[in-house]
Amino acid sequence: MGYRKSPVVENLGQFEQVVLTAILALDDAYGVTIHAKVEALSHPRKVARGAVYATLDRMEDKGLIASWLSEPKAERGGRARRHYRLEKAGERALRESARNAQRLIDTIAAAGLAWKK
């Protein structure tokens, strides 16, 4: 009897999860806004701008996100913006990561470890 193979879900690194979450949360996701959001999500840790670009590049190769260039803008010295959005594979991977994180939270809470406010 045959079986239905479930689609492969990409395992995400911690930083990849943060970057994907930032893209998901932003209406207009491009380098500047993504970096700002990633820094906010990673607070108090500082995040190198280059690390964000490298991660975006890698995730685009994996098919988790897609990008496109906008028209050049005067406030950017006549340069275009590279915008990003989540692909289906990216949404699946992020959902799976969130599920795993939720399981950890539930387990920690069940073990009686109080959250520090």
Partner: protein, 319 residues
């Protein structure tokens, strides 16, 4: 507080270090946040290593790179192998058109091997005894002046072996089986021809180290043709046939190269005997000329192969 602007030439210079397809987005982002300030420049310099690493990861074909690195290490020693490796890595980072085709991989490997060889030749001639002491000892034993052209086919062989594993579209060719049989016959003939070149070389031994390298290279290709590289007649996957046909072409180009080797050895020996600058020019130019002739022959074959592929009008696979 208004920040002092960084000099335009410095900003543009630093921006030139960012791979071309990332330049616009990164420069625009930094311009938007920092303006034309020193902070822009500092941030740009901090971004460059990440951008280069990302592009290296995307554009580098790792098996070929590792094969090249190991060969370079064996032949040149660690110092120049590191130089060659770094050159290939940086080249991969700045490649604008993504992962290279198999043809480009082989051509670049050859170009870098040859570039490194010329560099060593020049350095060794400039200061034969007190410059590059560690490498020089290794090179003296291998008679590097005569090794340059032999490195190219070795890299070609590895390049062809590695790129042959890449997938191709599946097409059906009407006289598929006949063409496979012909290709298999040519493999055996090619290997036989190599053995014919090998025997007199081994007997005459014009230069012992050169003969050893040439014998090894010829032997490797002959084994490759007779075993792993040989076209399997029973194979019914026409996409694989097409791939094999292309690989055959590459290997035949390599065989042409090897048949030209005795001439290269003679030319290099003649020039080297003149000594000094003459030796440097001769040992550099002579293999290049030979390389040009052999590539021209190979190009003719490529045209013939393309014509043949066009005649064998491909149709879509039905299975």
């Amino acid at each position: 507080v208004e920040e002092i602007a960084a000099p335009v030439w410095l900003r543009h210079g630093a921006l030139g270090l960012v791979p071309a397809d990332m330049r616009d987005a990164i420069a625009g982002d930094l311009e938007e946040v920092y303006g034309a300030s020193w902070r822009y420049l500092i941030q740009l310099l901090l971004v460059i290593p990440f951008a280069l690493a990302g592009r290296m990861r995307r554009n580098l074909f790792l098996p070929t790179f590792l094969a090249q690195a190991v060969l370079a290490w064996l032949l040149f020693g660690p110092m120049l192998a590191a130089l060659l490796g770094a050159g290939l890595l940086i080249f991969a980072a700045y490649r604008a058109d993504g992962a290279p085709s198999e043809k480009r991989v082989v051509a670049e490997a050859c170009a870098f091997a040859y570039g490194a060889t010329i560099l060593i030749q020049t350095a060794t001639l400039a200061a034969p005894h007190d410059w590059l002491p560690l490498t020089h000892q290794r090179l003296a034993g291998l008679q590097l002046f005569f090794l340059a052209p032999f490195l190219l086919p070795v890299f070609c062989l590895f390049g062809a072996a590695m790129v042959a594993r890449r997938g191709e579209g599946r097409v059906v060719l009407p006289d598929f089986r006949q063409a496979l049989q012909n290709a298999a016959r040519r493999d055996v003939l090619g290997a036989g021809g190599l053995l014919l070149v090998l025997v007199p070389l081994w007997r005459d031994r014009p230069l012992s180290d050169v003969t050893a390298v040439l014998t090894l290279t010829n032997g490797l290709v002959a084994i490759w043709l007779l075993a792993g590289g040989r076209t399997a007649v029973g194979d019914d996957d026409s996409g694989r046939y097409r791939r094999l046909l292309q690989r055959q072409h590459r290997l035949r180009g390599l065989v042409w190269w090897l048949w030209g080797m005795p001439l290269a050895v003679w030319m290099q020996g003649w020039f080297a005997a003149r000594g000094g600058v003459m030796a440097m020019i001769g040992t550099t130019v002579a293999p290049l000329l030979l390389c040009y002739v052999l590539l021209a022959v190979s190009r003719e074959e490529a045209v013939a192969l393309r014509d043949r592929m066009v005649r064998l009008r491909p149709t879509r696979a039905s299975y």
